[in-house]
Symmetry: C3
Subunit: 325 residues, 3 copies
Amino acid sequence: MSTKSNFVTVCLKGTSQVFFMENILTGLLFFAAMAFASYTTGVWATTIGALLGVVVATFVAQIVNLDKESVNSGLYGFNGILVGAALPTFVDVSLQLWFYVVIGAAASTIVTAAFSSTLTKTWNIPGSTGPFVLTAWLLVAGAYSFGGLELISEAPALSTDYTQGQVMLPSGMELVQIFFKNIGQVYLLGSAISGAIILIGIFIASRPAGVAAMAGSLIAMVVSIGMGADPADVSQGLYGFSAVLTAMAVGVIFLKPSWRVAIYAGIATIVTVFVQAAMDVTMLVDGLPSFTAPYVLTMYLFIAPKKLAAPHPHRVIQSEHLTSD
Amino acid sequence: MSTKSNFVTVCLKGTSQVFFMENILTGLLFFAAMAFASYTTGVWATTIGALLGVVVATFVAQIVNLDKESVNSGLYGFNGILVGAALPTFVDVSLQLWFYVVIGAAASTIVTAAFSSTLTKTWNIPGSTGPFVLTAWLLVAGAYSFGGLELISEAPALSTDYTQGQVMLPSGMELVQIFFKNIGQVYLLGSAISGAIILIGIFIASRPAGVAAMAGSLIAMVVSIGMGADPADVSQGLYGFSAVLTAMAVGVIFLKPSWRVAIYAGIATIVTVFVQAAMDVTMLVDGLPSFTAPYVLTMYLFIAPKKLAAPHPHRVIQSEHLTSD
Amino acid sequence: MSTKSNFVTVCLKGTSQVFFMENILTGLLFFAAMAFASYTTGVWATTIGALLGVVVATFVAQIVNLDKESVNSGLYGFNGILVGAALPTFVDVSLQLWFYVVIGAAASTIVTAAFSSTLTKTWNIPGSTGPFVLTAWLLVAGAYSFGGLELISEAPALSTDYTQGQVMLPSGMELVQIFFKNIGQVYLLGSAISGAIILIGIFIASRPAGVAAMAGSLIAMVVSIGMGADPADVSQGLYGFSAVLTAMAVGVIFLKPSWRVAIYAGIATIVTVFVQAAMDVTMLVDGLPSFTAPYVLTMYLFIAPKKLAAPHPHRVIQSEHLTSD
């Protein structure tokens, strides 16, 4: 087995780690989901950015000598791939954008190591996609200052300008679309078919994780519609992707699954939808998307209490818990 | 003694813990203060919300198996009662509001456990009302997104729109009103008589705590008027409630009282008034009240330095310092 | 040697610690740089505020019994001097301003001790100018609320109102000016000559530190111009001062210098320019300057990973790492 093929393997594992998996085939399917979305929209910069992101982040992790086991499990790749996918989603293509993606992906590896040396080492809280959120917020905010970068995203606004929805019930077909988009949006993909491909990828790696993802998507749908969230956001899956991650993380990945934990994860998932509603308006003032921050904050808070958080023996999680020193 | 009466006892202790006390009669007087304010304004949702909040928060703490001694001291109830009192103060009554209060109070218990497992365990800094502030900020911000929730509060604005006061001197009667409202506003009550009832409740549980509360209210009055804060805010007691908590916490609750500590607490109280001024304008951009955040931030910073913070032997504090694991 | 002369010595060391040095002559030169800028602008309040700040902060550190070695190295003075220099830069002179400076400088010492007892003690991350940033943000924000304080600074605005630059190349003379202003702005001085005096002061204390400061200024210039940052900000040195501190801190002060570390520090310096761009727009919403926050955040993240951060044997750093307990 050559070093080059090993590197590809690690990158694909990193791709699958966005959903807590460590599976090469799952990683390939996730790339297929991104490519499908790029094919339908005609925008390939996001898929290329994701590829560049995971390669740079993994490469930097190897040269700065981080913990080998964590690096090889792809745990230093998933924040980089998200940075690489997110930047071209919100910033127009230019020479400076690609410089931005390279430095951003490299920084995501350092930030991941920083979270690992503090949050994980002292409190056993996994950094998860926190480093992606921090890095991407800073880079998207910075784009407002740089003439070499043109923002695609909406303009900043005060919270009272936010569109409130009505308590309404979408049609059956719409509900199915929302169900899958809730999963696809973790990779910033507004395509139901991409979401379905990702869900298949998750099931290939872990059946309980797939069930948790489905439950998270359903809970998010019910709560966001019942509370009267903006239908435009709900139908794009924007109220579901953080909830999907919370349901998986709290329900089966970082805690040992049980009925007790299932109820605990259910409450965490509802709270994630509330936090999504909160962050969408507070980040809007800065003209920034909330990314997976609602998941990250809720998961940190629900995993921190030690008594509740008996560490899960699952291999992936142990890796996630491994610190860089 | 039946289990039910025990539960009621724990809830009343939780009610008194908002002011660091662990006293059933004090808790009853605090509820009397809330009921009096509801009677005069005709708005009962806040008192009902508070009741619901402390019941749910305490119940969740019992079922998730948190440290028994802390739970029984009411330390998992005071953040819940504040969440329950705050939400109906800023959001109109609806079915969704009560769902919000229940999930919010439950979440406040988890967040309290999270603060305990991190902030308190590693640095011996009490979480205090930090979990209330975080939970209430997220829920009030989320209300802007949900059509099922209608905000009562003022609209967000930029800091330059903030009304600056003149350096002026209110009349003697106004000063007396402010003195008591500074205490009542900890429970979000704009009633001087409610403030007086609460002060009596504090004195019943601890004379030094009562003296500290009075000193905090006086310092806040002098500093806020001398600096020229908005008279409308000063006269509503909005510059005093965080200062009252800081004076109590730093002066007698978390540090061992002495002349040295009294001066230290005095500086902390002045700083709290400055932080109040800062947070009122910065949170206004997000359309959020600052709640007790000025107290929480200042107290964390003044309690963190270990040499200065010889732990107080008082029973309440020891409980507050107990972590859930 | 009298106690009084010792106190003066400690204050001058504190003055030099803004650039990580512990050198009396360097401290004198830094005051000369401030005085020169005051002389050219006619505004002496900043230099007087700096003097008052370092005296109060150092005095409070002595009376609250913080770790003697750290106090004597000036490590409890440099945040106070920055608070004292920053407040009169953004707030007009009044009786309340001087009260603000005194309480603010005193608070900066407590906040420094708090950072030391948490960030440094648990994770070996130096607090550096983090306490200044936090204290100064709160005080400048608070000035919007107080009628006794008049803000000089620009009005708050949303990120889309931010002026983007064009990718352009300033003339040779402008580049020289920017090079030195990048250094002077650490002390909030927009004078190239003040920057040059400061650079001489750094070289007197440490040649590697001086080289790192120069490299940081150059990198910031190239990156900010290449990315198309607002030329008005670039030419005032506002894109460089945080980068200068990052280059020094990561390159020679907190890590052991090597080629590996030099490249690592280079990436950190580029990231600092991006974070500067981000914070300039996000803090603008609150009407606040970003101060040295871009340096502080980037340095924390790049120093946190333990494997990368073999502590530097240099005396200054060891002191910086010393906690107060």
